[in-house]
Symmetry: C2
Subunit: 307 residues, 2 copies
């Protein structure tokens, strides 16, 4: 049982599959629990609601030990603790692979939910939270020691142990890349920014789960507007620069198309003063689709979802 | 978004896996949708709550057609319509097998939820809905044409077509068995009986999903009481008698251990007058475990969960 003082409840659900959404050799049970909870709690705050509880349906093979299961449950609990939500219950069944179904509930505290359909020409587009970090981390894990990183990346394999030794201390002058792998394993959604944006009068909002361009494409379509992004407004950290050099990749591509950081993207009336935590990255215009100024389509300049 | 006028919401979740919980060659997409919704809505009414909505997480292989998916969605919607609940949303992802995560929400309308822990010595045990039908239907499907049913069961195979021709018309004088296969494919939980039992003062209640003996074992354990069942109180239909003869099985075994009919089992104070729809099948006593009077343990006379 979960409280719903508002008389309504927002509800969101996700299914996470081993191999597709996580790998047990790349992430611990604890990390997987944190991440599975985070991506649903993030969906709730993206509606401007306060998360109240989650329920979990779990399928798993017989070879998954109780230790792993305890770690997973600890991850769920600790992530929920960040927002004051509870783990209200669950269901367990046997399955050939680990399957995690998470449903999160939230309370609107009397406000209307923020949807994808309210963006208006003249609004600003702003983001809160990290973008591209998880995508960079995943690219590092996928490259691994045998994936073209060569001798410099020894140990960047299954468990990704030893990353720090290779790439410098996280946050250090050389810019380590271990923090990016951690970002893949355990997103840090900017939970407080969701209800905050609703209070500030956000006209639309969503959780960036599939990549900023694709997700803003949903806002563009639902609101019947165009969106123009300023690529120079995005933060590319030294850590991402270093990872991009290691992998021969484009860090702005990670920012524009990487999803699993669970940042928030919202549109606001132009005259709203945005608090720290929010960065203006573009504007809403008449038209359709998502355009990145000065960037060619094949470099992620146009959303695939444009109609 | 789902309404929660009570200020609380009961929430229940289940994960259904292809091969384990359903087979696409034995059940249509529509039937699977109906059943997946039914087992969750049944959990909600078993708490005495009124179902308000469901959300669905769906994993499926690329070869599942949109026709099958539409049928599944129709099944969800039609089952929810029976109780006035809505399909509030969902999530879809690729998976090697069909995985269905259903979460159902319910409203208590100001009442306390009925749990498993309130049964007291002196209470009566009553059931509502069918018991053993789905188990008999599954046994018929599993036996199939090659499973020992011999020439009499031609056509009782994958699609179970032709059952009526073999075993007489459902409800006819000979007692057809096709109705049992239908019962496996599409349970008919006695939805109205859940909130009704709560109003009548049920001291404990649950949805019979794993079999009556096993599920009453949970009541016995949670309430710290013993339960004695009268095997003569249960209904064994002519259809079940006929299926039992065909398969050389014991129909009372299906009644006591078959789960998927989603009957309700509840305990009530002895002086409560139970309306039609409820059948008294036993009594709550001091002690522990679940006993079936006059029945040997190896015939399902004692619950495996007895402590």
């Amino acid at each position: 049982m979960v409280s719903a003082p508002d008389g309504r409840v927002v509800v969101t659900t996700d299914l996470l599959l081993e191999g597709r959404h996580f790998r047990r050799d790349w992430s611990s049970g604890y990390d997987i629990g944190r991440k599975a909870a985070a991506q649903n709690l993030s969906d709730v705050v993206a509606m401007g609601a306060h998360p109240t509880g989650i329920v979990v349906g779990l399928g798993m093979p017989a070879d998954v030990g109780t230790g792993w299961l305890d770690d997973l449950a600890d991850g769920f609990r600790d992530e929920c603790d960040l927002v004051g939500a509870s783990v209200a219950g669950g269901d367990t069944t046997r399955c050939d692979l680990v399957v995690i179904g998470v449903t999160a509930l939230g309370d609107l505290r009397g406000r209307a939910p923020v949807t994808r359909s309210g963006a208006r020409p003249g609004d600003v587009v702003a983001v809160a939270g990290r973008l591209g970090h998880a995508a960079a981390g995943l690219a590092l894990l996928q490259a691994g020691p045998a994936g073209g990183l060569g001798g410099a990346a020894e140990g960047l394999g299954g468990a990704a142990e030893g990353l720090d030794g290779v790439a410098g201390e996280p946050g250090g002058p050389a810019g380590g890349v271990r923090g990016l792998v951690d970002a893949h394993r355990r997103p840090r959604p900017p939970y407080a920014c969701g209800p905050q944006a609703a209070e500030l009068g956000a006209t639309s909002m969503l959780d960036v789960s599939d990549g900023l361009l694709q997700d803003l494409g949903h806002v563009s379509k639902a609101s019947g507007v165009g969106i123009v992004l300023d690529p120079g407004a995005f933060t590319v950290t030294p850590e991402m620069e270093r990872a991009a050099r290691l992998l021969g990749a484009d860090p702005v591509e990670w920012v524009l198309t990487g999803g699993e950081d669970h940042a928030l993207a919202a549109t606001f009336p132009r005259d709203v003063r945005l608090p720290s935590g929010w960065t203006v990255v573009g504007r809403v215009v008449r038209g359709s689709g998502v355009q990145v100024e000065g960037r060619a389509p094949e470099r992620g300049g146009w959303d695939h979802f444009r109609e």
